[in-house]
């Protein structure tokens, strides 16, 4: 394979993986903006999205599209239940308490998943399994990558419309900007926190479903996805959604190029190196002036 085809091949892989990291990072951002906490169960939402989809479509033979929406719905509900069960009842909890609660939630969800699905790895047929890979010279583009990018773009558009053009979306942004003022104009801040959990569970689930056909899924995938998604969110500037998408592609590309040209054994280290690097050099991330301020607090 020529160098150029090889490069192109790695770029295709990197873009697909990067899109997923971007979506996981978006999930982090949504909850971070509403509550100031890092939800360490974010990776579990991704894992659950994939797993529930697998059970529905290959186990219960539910059609793909229907299965997609049911899976997202179920995981959304799980996100909401976590908020109502573990976050909502607390009166004036500290950010640290909340983060530890999300760790507990993560362990619980992972344990639950292992109990239900066992330790084996599952896969999902590609969304257009009949379509052959599209070749560019010797490199080939997996049609699932197009699905991933398309669905990611669609999710981004839906989110952008929600946050910019609906009153509820504006209220969520208002909460992120100033909780006191939000409650003074009549926003139920606690309800917005619930919504943020539901929303980031939903976007996590979508990411999990679209990645499974190319990356497979097992009960233990969430942790690594969360770490990489977190690195992405930090690189993009915590709280910045555009930053998350750009950073997702950067980390995805670095990872696949690094794995291809250097060694695949360093693949998982790259995101962590980026994370450390950003924290040392530019803690606000690429899009983050606000992030920087928040870090200083």
């Amino acid at each position: 394979m020529s160098f150029f085809s090889q490069l192109l091949q790695y770029v295709f892989t990197g873009v697909a993986v990067g899109a997923i990291y971007g979506m996981v990072a978006l999930g982090f951002n949504i909850i971070y903006n509403a509550t100031g906490i890092i939800n360490l169960a974010q990776g579990e939402f991704v894992m659950l999205g994939g797993m529930v989809m697998i059970s529905l479509t290959t186990g219960l033979k539910v059609p793909m599209i229907l299965g997609f929406f049911i899976s997202v719905g179920i995981v959304t509900l799980i996100g909401a239940v976590i908020e109502r069960g573990a976050i909502h009842p607390l009166k004036n909890p500290s950010v640290m308490t909340l983060i530890i609660i999300t760790v507990a939630a993560s362990i619980l969800l992972k344990g639950g998943a292992m109990f239900i699905w066992g330790k084996q790895t599952y896969t999902l047929p590609a969304f257009s399994s009949s379509t052959k890979p599209i070749s560019f010279g010797e490199a080939s583009l997996n049609p699932q990558t197009i699905w991933i990018l398309g669905i990611m773009a669609a999710s981004m558009i839906v989110l952008a419309i929600f946050f910019n053009f609906t009153m509820t979306g504006k209220a969520m942004r208002a909460c992120a900007a100033n909780k006191l003022a939000a409650s003074l104009v009549g926003v139920n801040v606690k309800l917005m926190v619930l919504l943020s959990f539901a929303l980031s569970a939903a976007i996590g689930a979508v990411a999990g479903i679209i990645i499974t056909p190319v990356a497979l899924m097992d009960y233990d995938r969430g942790t690594m996805l969360a770490i990489k998604g977190f690195a992405t969110a930090v690189l993009g500037g915590l709280g910045s959604n555009i930053g998350a998408v750009i950073a997702g592609f950067i980390i995805g590309l670095m990872e696949s190029l690094g794995a291809g040209f250097i060694s695949s054994s360093y693949k998982d280290a790259i995101a962590l190196l980026v994370l450390l690097f950003v924290l040392f050099i530019r803690p606000g991330g690429i899009m983050g002036t606000t992030g920087e301020e928040k870090f200083k607090k």
């Binding site: 009153m167 209220a171 208002a174 900007a177 003022a181 003074l184 104009v185």
Partner: protein, 244 residues
């Protein structure tokens, strides 16, 4: 209209209000003056439900609203323009205003909200010019106007203003106080908290003086302005010179 009976508020073990009683009648401008840390903001925050740790009674038109959460209080018709503006800085001026109407937002009320928006733009023409601008980039005076305008968008019966003149140039303070008078004339009852006691009492009908969580004086504005002790304590040096 608004009646407060023996209100006591707490920050943990610290008692910031030690039994406040006051009343505000429809159509009045009532001023509350006091030094730093006297408990002025605490009182407003207690009324608007931000502070929930309290005892006593807050009645709005006879209805007990003491323990309502903030979002219920706005619905009942009390709107607080908090100290330090507290805008939604990354959002546009327009979004700040629309969010002001959040508690009554629905498709049905859309035209009504648009009408209120027009009214607010009439009072603050500068905000109409700046409606697409991000709130955080407005000047201090514009930010205060936006804060008041946002408070008005909930169509309050009573508007609570916490130090609207803070940090503003005299000319702008003048504008803001003129607007407060106008709002009263158009039917909004005003409870005005100020350290700028002179100015506040000039436009107010009545005033209360608060000191370390207690009301120590109350009366008509002229009475307060004519009271030597109050003048000495709250109206500053310049004013005293005129007097002596």
């Amino acid at each position: 209209m608004l009646k407060i009976r023996n209100l006591r508020s707490f920050y943990g073990n610290l008692q910031a209000l030690k039994g406040i009683s006051l009343h505000i009648e429809a159509g009045e401008i009532v001023a509350l003056i006091g030094a730093n840390g006297a408990g002025k903001s605490t009182l407003l925050n207690s009324i608007s439900g931000v502070i929930s740790s309290k005892r006593g009674q807050i009645l709005l038109d006879g209805k007990d609203i003491t323990y309502f959460p903030p979002q219920r209080i706005v619905k009942e018709g009390i709107s607080l323009v908090p100290e330090g503006r507290q805008l939604f800085s990354p959002l546009s001026v327009m979004d700040n205003l629309l969010l002001g109407a959040y508690q009554r937002f629905s498709i049905k009320k859309k035209t009504q909200i648009e009408r209120d928006l027009e009214r607010v733009f009439q009072i603050f023409p500068i905000l109409k010019e700046r409606r697409k601008q991000v709130a955080g980039t407005l000047s201090g005076g514009e930010q205060q106007m936006l804060a008041i305008a946002r408070g008005l968008m909930s169509k309050p019966k009573i508007l609570l203003l916490d130090e609207p003149s803070m940090g503003l140039a005299p000319k702008i303070v003048q504008d803001i106080f003129r607007i407060i008078l106008r709002l009263r004339d158009e039917g909004t009852t005003i409870f005005l908290v100020e350290q700028n006691a002179q100015k506040a009492l000039e436009i107010a009908d009545r005033g209360y003086v608060i000191e370390t969580g207690r009301i120590v004086f109350e009366g008509k504005s002229e009475e307060l302005l004519g009271n030597r002790e109050i003048v000495r304590a709250y109206l500053g040096r310049g004013y005293r010179k005129v007097w002596e």
